[in-house]
Symmetry: C2
C-alpha cells in the first residue's frame, strides 16, 4: 500500500493525483509540540531515544498532512562513533572538540557498523514504520561525504571553508582517504536505515555550494557516486544540496533518483538541466514562509507551474524550515500545494 | 595615458597585451603594511582620513603590481549621514544600532549629498588619483541598493535575510520607497566619485544571491538599473554579486559594462550566458589562495583558458581577499596572471 504512495510514485516519475509535499525539518522548533518535548531532552538525547525520535517524527505527519515522514535525527549522529567529540552548544549549532586536521586524525576515524554503533536510529526507524502503518512512507537520511568532511575539519559551521579546501588542495591524498571513509560510513548508514524500514533515503550535501564545479567533479563526485551506486533494494534516493545551481549536472551524474533544487533557480530551468529522466524536489525559499498567506500561495503556485505538471515533482523547501517560522503558514503551505496541484 | 590602460581597455572589451588583474580587498589585513596602519586607527577612522585612505589604497599597487587601484573605503560609509548609527565592532563586522524596520524609519533616512556628507571619500579619491599619476586607473565603488538595504534592515551581516525578505513580501510599498532612496544615494555617490577622479566604478551587490530570480527581477533590478543608467561620463561600471550564477542574465539587464562572476560557475559558461557584448570580471575562489603555489597557478590558468583570450576579461577573485591569506600567494597570483596571459 505505501509502495503505491503519492510520494514514492513521484520519486519514480509515475503520474500522481496531486503533487506530494514534505518539508525539510518538518519536525522542528517552529512547532509547539516539538518545543514541548525539546524542553525535556537535549538535542542529542532526542536523537538517541527511539521513543522520542519516533514521536517527533510522527508529529508533522498528523499536524501538517505531509506526504512523507523523515526520521528525526541529525546528519552528524554517525560521527560520534567514528571518534568525533560532538556537542550541540546552546544556540551555536554543532561544535566538534577534536576536529580532523591531520593524516593521523583521519587514520584514527572508525568506519562504523550502524547496527552496533547507532542502533537507536534503526530502532526509531522500525518504530515509526510500524506506527505509520502504511499511511505515508518514511524517509531515512545521511549527510553526504563532503558536508560531513567539512564539519569534521572545520569543527562546526563555517563561512568560508578555508580548512576544508586547504586539506583538498594541500593534501589531496589525505582528502581522498577521508572521503573514502565517509562514503563507506554514509553508504552503510543509509543501507542500514533501508533495511530497518526506510522506504526512501535522502543524502544531504548541504554545504557543497562553496565549491567550484571542477573541484566538485574531482574531489566530491566520486564519493557521492559510490554511495548512490551502493544503495541496496528499491528505495528511491534523493540527492540534496544548496547553492548548487551550477552543480546540478554533476550531482545528477553522481546519482540520485530525485535531485534537490534550492530556490535560487527556477525549478523548470533546473529540471531541464538535470534531465527529465530524474525527478526533482523543491524549491520554495524557507523565508517565503514568513510572508503573508497570499504571498505564500503565489510563490507555491509559481513553483508548481514551473514544474509544469510533469510527473516526478516533489514539493519541498529549498532548505530546512527555520525555527522562527509561523507554524500556521507551514500548515497552509501543505494544503495549498495539495489544492493547487489536483489533476 | 591612463585612458589607454590595460584595465580600462579590458572594461571596454578592447584587445590588451595581457589580462589585467586587480583583487577585491587588495588593501586589507592580509598585508603587513596595512596591519601596521590599522593598529593606529579604527576602521572607520581610516575611511574618514583621506591621507590614510590614500596611503592604504596605494600599498597594493606598489606591492602587488595590480592593474588598477580601488579606493579604500567601505560600502556602508554613506549610511552614516543617511541617519544610520554604524559601528565596526571588534571581530564582529558592522553593527547597526538603529536598524530600519518601519515605514517611519524609512521616511527618516536622508538622501545624502556626497560633497557635503562624505567629503573625505572624495578627497581621498583626488589624492590617490594625483599620486598614481596615470600609473594605473582608480576604481570608485558603492554598495548596491539591495545589499545596503539588507544591512540596514538586518542590523549587520545576516544568514537568512529573514527581516529583509519580510519587508519585501509584507510591505512592498515600504520596500520600494527604501530602494528608491538607496538607488538615489548610490547613484549620487558613484557620480561624485567619478567627478572626483575615479576612472571606473564598481557596484557591490554582495548578498543578492539570497534571492530567487523572480524576486530579483521585481524587487531589485529596477533600482540597480536606475543606478547604472544614471552614471555620468565615460567611466566603465562593474556590476558585482556573489552566489549570483542564476542571476547573471538579470544583472546584465540591470546594467554594467563588466559583470562580476564568482567561482561557483565556469567563467566561460558565465560569459556565454551574460553575452559577449559585456566584459566579465572574476573568478578565482579567494580560498584558492590558501593552496600551494602550483595549485594557485593551475587554478588561474583554468580561468584564463575558460575566458579563451576573448577581449574583455578582467582577472579578479570571486569575492574579497580573506584576512588570513598568505601575502606571498597574492603577489604570486598577480605575476602568474600577467605571465600566463601574455599574448
Amino acid at each position: 500500500m505505501s509502495e503505491e504512495s503519492t510520494f514514492l510514485r513521484a520519486c519514480r516519475r509515475q503520474p500522481t493525483d496531486y503533487t506530494p509535499v514534505w518539508l525539510m525539518r518538518q519536525a522542528g522548533r517552529y512547532m509547539k509540540e516539538y518545543r514541548a518535548i525539546r524542553q525535556k531532552y537535549s538535542f542529542l538525547a532526542m536523537c538517541k531515544t527511539p521513543d522520542v525520535a519516533a514521536e517527533v517524527t510522527l508529529q508533522p505527519v498528523e499536524k501538517l498532512g505531509v506526504d512523507a515522514a523523515i526520521i528525526f535525527s541529525d546528519i552528524l549522529v554517525p560521527l560520534e562513533p567514528m571518534g568525533i567529540d560532538l556537542e550541540y552548544a546552546q544556540g551555536e549549532g554543532p561544535v566538534i572538540h577534536n576536529p580532523v586536521r591531520t593524516a593521523a586524525d583521519i587514520d584514527k576515524l572508525r568506519v562504523i557498523t550502524p547496527e552496533e554503533d547507532v542502533p537507536f536510529v534503526l530502532a526509531a526507524v522500525r518504530k515509526v514504520r510500524q506506527a505509520l502503518d502504511g499511511k505515508v512512507p518514511l524517509i531515512g537520511f545521511a549527510g553526504a561525504p563532503f558536508t560531513l568532511a567539512s564539519y569534521m575539519i572545520e569543527g562546526g559551521h563555517s563561512r568560508n571553508f578555508i580548512r576544508t579546501k586547504q586539506l583538498m588542495y594541500r593534501h589531496p591524498g589525505d582528502w581522498h582517504r577521508l572521503m573514502e571513509k565517509l562514503a563507506d560510513v554514509t553508504l552503510r548508514y543509509l543501507n542500514a536505515q533501508i533495511e530497518a524500514g526506510a522506504q526512501a533515503v535522502q543524502m544531504f550535501d548541504s554545504w557543497v555550494g562553496c565549491l567550484n564545479p571542477d573541484d566538485y567533479a574531482a574531489f566530491v563526485l566520486p564519493y557521492s557516486r559510490r554511495v548512490f551506486q551502493g544503495l541496496q533494494g528499491s528505495a528511491p534516493a534523493i540527492h540534496f544540496g544548496t547553492i548548487s545551481s551550477t552543480l546540478l549536472e554533476h550531482m545528477r551524474e553522481a546519482g540520485g533518483d530525485v535531485i534537490g533544487v534550492d530556490w535560487r533557480i527556477d525549478l523548470g530551468t533546473a529540471w531541464q538541466r538535470i534531465g527529465y529522466d530524474r525527478a526533482v524536489q523543491g524549491n520554495l525559499d524557507p523565508v517565503a514562509l514568513f510572508s503573508p498567506l497570499a504571498s505564500v500561495r503565489k510563490l507555491a503556485r509559481k513553483i508548481l507551474e514551473s514544474a509544469g505538471n510533469r510527473p516526478g515533482h516533489i514539493f519541498n523547501l529549498g532548505h530546512g524550515i527555520l525555527p522562527e517560522t509561523p507554524a500556521e503558514n507551514v500548515i497552509a503551505l501543505v494544503d495549498t500545494v495539495h489544492e493547487l496541484s489536483q489533476r
